[in-house]
């Protein structure tokens, strides 16, 4: 189930599904320690003897409040005559999850309504040794284990606190979970439980006919009891209403930096652009790592998630952030890269947000000196760093990540195959095959050019020339070995046994994306035409598939693969780069629109969508999708400006 919204502050990230349940709760790092581990914190209502969990039977719409990382969900259930509106966020400066729930009694009579919140925490990701207890002095529930404390509390707009509570056991024989206790509208009041535990609380509202009541609810996160007690006191002193306002204003100020004039864009695109930046930000840990996705539903497939820092995804997100003027987040990412870089100068497959090497499925083969890495990840970080410096010229920052520049450059040079002039084999960006890929070679070319530019800045002419020469030789080798003259297009890869992969793959767009070849060169035009011919999905949904006969999460055998946001946006970027007129530029904007149209109402973009229904498939949100969207919009604006200036000159 896709995540409808994600809210966070760089230490906490909380994601919601379409039932308004919290499905991921990360603390104290974004992407590390999901304290729900595939479970949920859900809400339900009891009215006139009937109980209903929010979800089935409810009409629910979830969005963000414009320009913020504050979600807004509206749920209505006419059968039980209730309408609920919630705002949820994580306070930007305090480790507090906040919720305001406005409950409207649609009935023509006064009614007593109870609202239930359940807490199926799996602290540190498991069920062993948790405690949940009621603190009568605070009238709050506290879940804890070792150095993780979650204090749950709330109050109604009339000043009444938690009405009833229960703590108990779950996932044990005969113990389904305390959440079941909610369904009779009464909670047991059991004050403490240890082991595999969960909890529920309720609030009671006496609502007149057609009237509204408000519940304010919060979860304070800390490393010890004192921290969460202090936070609880802070909320009681300041109030959730004010804390929500602070978050709304913080994020509105964050996203409206005015680095770029967006006013020529359609409203929908501006909205999606800002949402994308905010969603990327919600996936950025305060220590620098940017995780690929917080959506843990993918656990069901292979017992692992996308909640890792892939340097490829992170670097592309950093490029997007820098283009849009959000250098603070990208600088933290580069510092993270500098910190985790292997001594040998490459990046491993992926990392946890604490900097440790993440889980991997890349085998060590040793064949032809091949390392178990995806070399483009190393190349893209160096390239992204150059793009950052090109825009901000922050030489002192560069000095602070010098190791990153020196070591990755050395590595990329040494990882060139002297026999072919191409990079030595590594794994591809799709993490499926090993070989020499056009995508990877293109990113290495970009990185060597970036390295050359760094040495020009450092005033080391000899090194600059050597790196320039290495980049030029690589480009020549790419054209010689990865370009198919007969088919007039670049091919996907050459494998270890010398075989050539002729399947059309959208990632070959890297030849122009990373500056190796101009978008208007014949070789690029031929390549992009073959991509459009073979990979455009001719259904009502449209969009570009990843490659021919893509089996990953394949939804239908009737088309060659599912449309992917990133691939469709690469095509948008080609139309933009290729445009010589406003008419041609429109083709790029149409595809940017396509991405906007196929996002969730909240603006969330998945990895891929169903080719016939447009439903989100695989993880959702995917930071990379949002990053490519931001890059495409920035490139569109730049090209629009360029064409406008050109037409003014022409008129003169």
């Amino acid at each position: 189930m896709p995540r409808e919204t994600v809210v966070g502050n760089g230490r906490i990230a909380v994601a919601f599904d379409s039932k308004m349940s919290i499905r991921d709760f990360f603390y104290p790092r974004v992407g590390l320690e999901n304290h729900l581990s595939g479970h949920e914190l859900k809400s339900g209502v009891w009215v006139e003897g009937e109980f209903s969990w929010l979800g089935d039977g409810w009409n629910i719409e979830t969005k963000y409040m414009p320009d913020t990382l504050v979600s807004r969900s509206r749920a209505s259930n006419l059968d039980i005559g209730l309408q609920i509106e919630t705002n949820e966020t994580v306070h930007e400066g305090r480790d507090l999850f906040l919720k305001k729930m406005m409950v409207q009694n649609l009935a023509k009579k006064a009614r007593k309504i109870r609202i239930f919140f359940t807490h199926d925490f799996h602290i540190y990701g498991d069920t062993v040794g948790d405690t949940v207890m009621h603190d009568p002095a605070l009238n709050a529930l506290i879940h804890y284990k070792r150095q993780r404390y979650f204090l749950v509390n709330g109050v109604t707009s009339k000043g009444t606190g938690i009405h009833q509570f229960a703590t108990g056991y779950k996932e044990l024989p005969g113990r389904e979970g305390t959440w079941r206790d909610s369904e009779d509208g009464i909670l047991s009041g059991n004050p403490i439980a240890q082991g595999s535990v969960d909890s529920a609380i309720s609030f009671e509202l006496d609502l007149l006919a057609k009237s509204k009541g408000i519940i304010y609810y919060w979860i304070a996160c800390g490393r010890n009891l004192k921290q969460v007690e202090d936070l609880d006191a802070t909320v009681k002193q300041i109030g959730v209403e004010q804390l929500l306002l602070e978050s709304e204003n913080y994020w509105a100020a964050w996203v409206n930096r005015k680095e770029i004039n967006l006013s020529i864009l359609p409203k929908e695109v501006i909205r999606a652009y800002k949402n994308s930046l905010l969603i990327i930000r919600s996936h950025a840990d305060s220590r620098g790592g940017i995780i690929a996705s917080c959506d843990s539903d993918i656990l069901q497939f292979n017992r692992d998630t996308y909640s890792y820092v892939w340097m490829r995804d992170g670097a592309i997100a950093a490029i997007a952030l820098d283009l849009a003027g959000f250098r603070d987040t990208s600088m933290r990412f580069f510092r993270f890269c500098d910190f985790v870089l292997a001594d040998e100068g490459f990046f491993h497959h992926k990392y946890s947000p604490d900097g440790s090497v993440g889980s991997s499925w890349l085998p060590i083969s040793g064949s032809k000196g091949m390392l178990p890495i995806e070399e483009d990840e190393t190349a893209l970080v160096l390239y992204a760093l150059w793009r950052h410096f090109q825009k901000y010229r922050d030489i002192e920052f560069l000095e602070s990540v010098q190791k990153l520049i020196l070591k990755t450059t050395e590595f990329l040079l040494n990882y060139l195959d002297p026999d072919t002039g191409l990079p030595k084999p590594s794994f591809d960006l799709w993490e499926e095959r090993s070989g020499v890929f056009t995508w990877t070679a293109s990113t290495v070319y970009a990185a060597l050019n970036a390295a050359a530019e760094f040495w020009r800045v450092f005033y080391n002419r000899e090194r600059y020339e050597a790196l320039n020469e290495a980049a030029a030789s690589l480009k020549e080798a790419m054209f010689k070995q990865l370009y198919d003259h007969e088919r007039q297009r670049f091919i996907k890869a050459v494998y270890l046994d010398g075989s050539r992969d002729l399947a059309v793959d959208s990632s070959v767009a890297a030849i122009f994306l990373y500056g190796g070849f101009d978008a208007s060169e014949r070789a690029v035009e031929g390549t992009m035409k073959s991509i459009i011919d073979k990979l455009w999905i001719n259904t009502r949904v449209g969009g570009l598939a990843r490659y021919e006969n893509d089996e990953y999460q394949r939804a239908s055998q009737d088309v060659t693969g599912n449309p992917w946001f990133i691939c469709t946006l690469w095509l948008a970027r080609w139309h933009i780069a290729h445009a010589k007129s406003f008419d041609q530029l429109e083709k790029g904007l149409e595809l940017i629109y396509w991405a906007t149209r196929h996002a969730l109402p909240s603006g969330v973009m998945a990895e891929q969508i169903h080719p016939f229904t447009g439903d989100q498939i695989s993880v959702s949100p995917l930071v990379w999708s949002h990053a490519e969207f931001v890059i495409a919009v920035c490139e569109y604006l730049e090209k629009y400006q360029e064409l406008s200036s050109r037409s003014i000159v022409d008129e003169k």
Binding site: M65, D67, E248, A252, N256, S263, K267
Partner: protein
């Protein structure tokens, strides 16, 4: 000071659009055959009004649902308790200008 905001056609009838000029944000609203220019942020908590709902002459804030009268910027419904600034708008040769 007269500031050019946009072309008339940039804001079709029944719609509104935000423009950023001189480090300030303006909302141009086109109702019937008239154009109005107001502050682009809600006077209550700074919400982007361009994301709000326009129903006839009434503009509803997208964050906390304050309502404003577009023709004079006055508050119709709280929580906002101060009006939006309204700027004189001049239409000249298909272009919109505001007087600051």
């Amino acid at each position: 000071m007269l500031l050019r905001i946009c072309k008339k056609d940039d804001v079709p009838a029944g719609s509104m659009k935000q423009f950023d000029l001189k480090e300030r944000e303006f909302l141009v609203v086109h109702i019937g055959d008239r154009f109005f220019c107001l502050d682009a942020r809600c006077s209550h908590a700074g919400a982007p009004l361009v994301e709000g709902d326009l129903d006839g002459d009434i503009l509803t804030c997208p964050w906390h649902y304050s309502q404003f009268m577009v023709s004079d910027g006055s508050v119709v419904r709280g929580p906002a308790n101060s009006h939006l600034n309204l700027y004189d708008i001049i239409v000249r040769e298909g272009q919109l200008f505001i007087e600051l």
